[in-house]
Symmetry: C2
Subunit: 334 residues, 2 copies
């Protein structure tokens, strides 16, 4: 999978800004790839990009139309299909982060074949993976792990990619979720891989590389999440990470989606992640803590970061408020 840019962001008839969250993530992290947006009548999302027709997008050199929106009912509506079909006719590819596959819409499948275009359903891996080999490989890797799901792993990893590239370091974000894949233009939706191949898929995603090259692997879930820990464990073993970053959201009262489960103790969470990582890379070490402090006042956030840094002897940052420079400093020393 290699999604060509520039992109046109298809927002459809998104009922609100939240429905276009995926598109917003792409526009935030890859503004240079996003030349415009397409909105149907009634759309209430806005990325602040130039509104374009499909004809204008093709004219502007767009290679791929990104369906980065959840619509009502999770289906691909007839209004969408006509417009997306037009994009294929004009020579553009389609990429979607929806559960429902573009390739399962007969009209789009036929149009893609007729016009020699590609349909990327990024939630649905098409690669045949091997089982994980556990064999050591060259290059350096970082993995974001979390106390819970949705605590900022993708954000922290992308912020590190930006900061490391700014310093001239070789760093590539490796996406494991649908928004990340649209941002990277490639990747594996790791929670959609067959269970036997989780760690093998991560090995495939972050293969051997130059000794001073960093793959920054987007984490998923948490070892302490009763629904998804298997995915997190396979990620730890497959990544063979040299460096781990713990991601945390301090205002959460319970594990996401599990109201009867409290968040894990941070020390225990780090110890278990480190031990699992060391099974396949004995050099693994934590290099920092990334906290989403948006639910705290600035003073509370600063206090928390200082306390966590002191307690764990690691840089503790909020990627949005403070940036990730302190973690990048550590990585330069590895």
């Amino acid at each position: 999978m290699d999604i060509a840019h520039p992109y046109l962001m298809f927002l459809g008839d998104a009922p609100d800004q939240l429905a276009a969250k995926t598109a917003q993530g792409v526009a935030q992290w890859r503004p240079e790839w996003c030349v415009g947006q397409f909105r149907l009548p009634g759309c209430r999302a806005d990325l602040g990009l130039t509104d374009m027709t499909m004809e204008e997008a093709a004219e502007a050199g767009v290679k791929t139309v990104i369906v980065g929106v959840a619509n009502r009912g999770g289906r691909i509506s007839t209004e969408w299909i006509d417009v997306l079909d037009r994009a294929l006719q004009l020579g553009m590819d389609l990429a979607s982060g929806l559960h429902k596959k573009l390739a399962d819409v007969p009209m789009l499948k036929a149009a893609a074949e007729e016009h020699g275009r590609q349909l990327f359903d990024v939630r649905h891996p098409t690669e045949d993976f091997d089982v994980g080999s556990g064999v050591a490989r060259s290059g350096k890797r970082l993995l974001a792990v979390g106390t819970d799901c949705s605590v900022g792993k993708m954000y922290a990893t992308l912020a590190l990619e930006a900061e490391m590239r700014r310093r001239g370091m070789k760093a590539d974000f490796r996406a494991t979720g649908q928004t990340g894949i649209l941002i990277a233009g490639s990747g594996v939706s790791i929670d959609a891989v067959v269970a036997d191949f989780i760690s093998g898929a991560v090995e495939w995603l972050s293969p051997e590389n130059e000794p001073d090259h960093w793959d920054l692997v987007e984490g998923q879930g948490s070892l302490f999440h009763a629904s998804f820990a298997g995915v997190s464990m396979g990620l730890l073993h497959g990544a063979q990470a040299d460096a781990l970053v713990l991601c945390h959201e301090p205002t959460r009262s319970h594990m996401r989606g599990l109201p009867h489960y409290p968040l894990p103790d941070l020390k225990l969470c780090m110890a278990r992640n480190l031990e699992a990582a060391r099974l396949t890379n004995p050099q693994a070490a934590f290099v920092g803590i990334a906290v989403n402090t948006s639910g705290l006042s600035e003073g509370e956030g600063d206090d928390l970061l200082k306390r966590l840094s002191d307690e764990h002897g690691l840089p503790a940052v909020d990627p949005v408020r403070t940036g990730v420079e302190a973690i990048a400093d550590r990585l330069q020393g590895i």
Copy 2:
């Protein structure tokens, strides 16, 4: 999935006894279901059952023909297809533990539809699972965990089912691998489930039950196996086990398939399995150790079992040599 018995065991043109390992497991654990075997010319496997034609099997009341054999190249050969097609015509279902699906053979798919018969490809789950909820459920559950893959988890669990039923306890083996599924007549090939749904599939497999009923869940892999630990972790969280049995093979010099990985320390392995199990069931405890001592002399085996029992304060048995009574004793007290 509910595979009807009695069974006819289809051995095809198995080049040796090992190729019929799956069929042999079924014949060993469910002899009362296996009324005969079918062998093509050149077959070198033998389950010691009456050889039958498809006509004789149908006459004898066989409900399902079990393809419990790996053939040369992993394919379903033309010779097989003609015979299996005949079975469908005679009103019998087919169940297979092969990677290659019966349902992907056009002639068999068409014949099954025409005659209203079922094709069970037990390695390929067809159920739509939910993600794990982690919600506590009634009934008791036991899970077999291991230091490695293929260390006797299925055998230990089936031996416990037999012993507990002999004592009048309510106990059901819950299969998570293809041989186990053919033995149980139902189950989920857990390593073939989409990664997001591992623990959810185990919750589905061992649902709430009477307070004194035991589900004996077949384990897979090992938390310390770099290829498959994600599956083992999801099994631990989904099973909500009250009781764990550690399975071990003492002569193994490295993890199966990973020559550069040693086996884990038993104490550490037990501690981590217990901790993961307690995330979803705080009452979880080890009730025994099941060791495959077939690679040791009888004296060495006895010494090892005694040493393990003393070290861990638990019954240590070899399900084949000593039986599992000592573990069943413990379970009667829970």
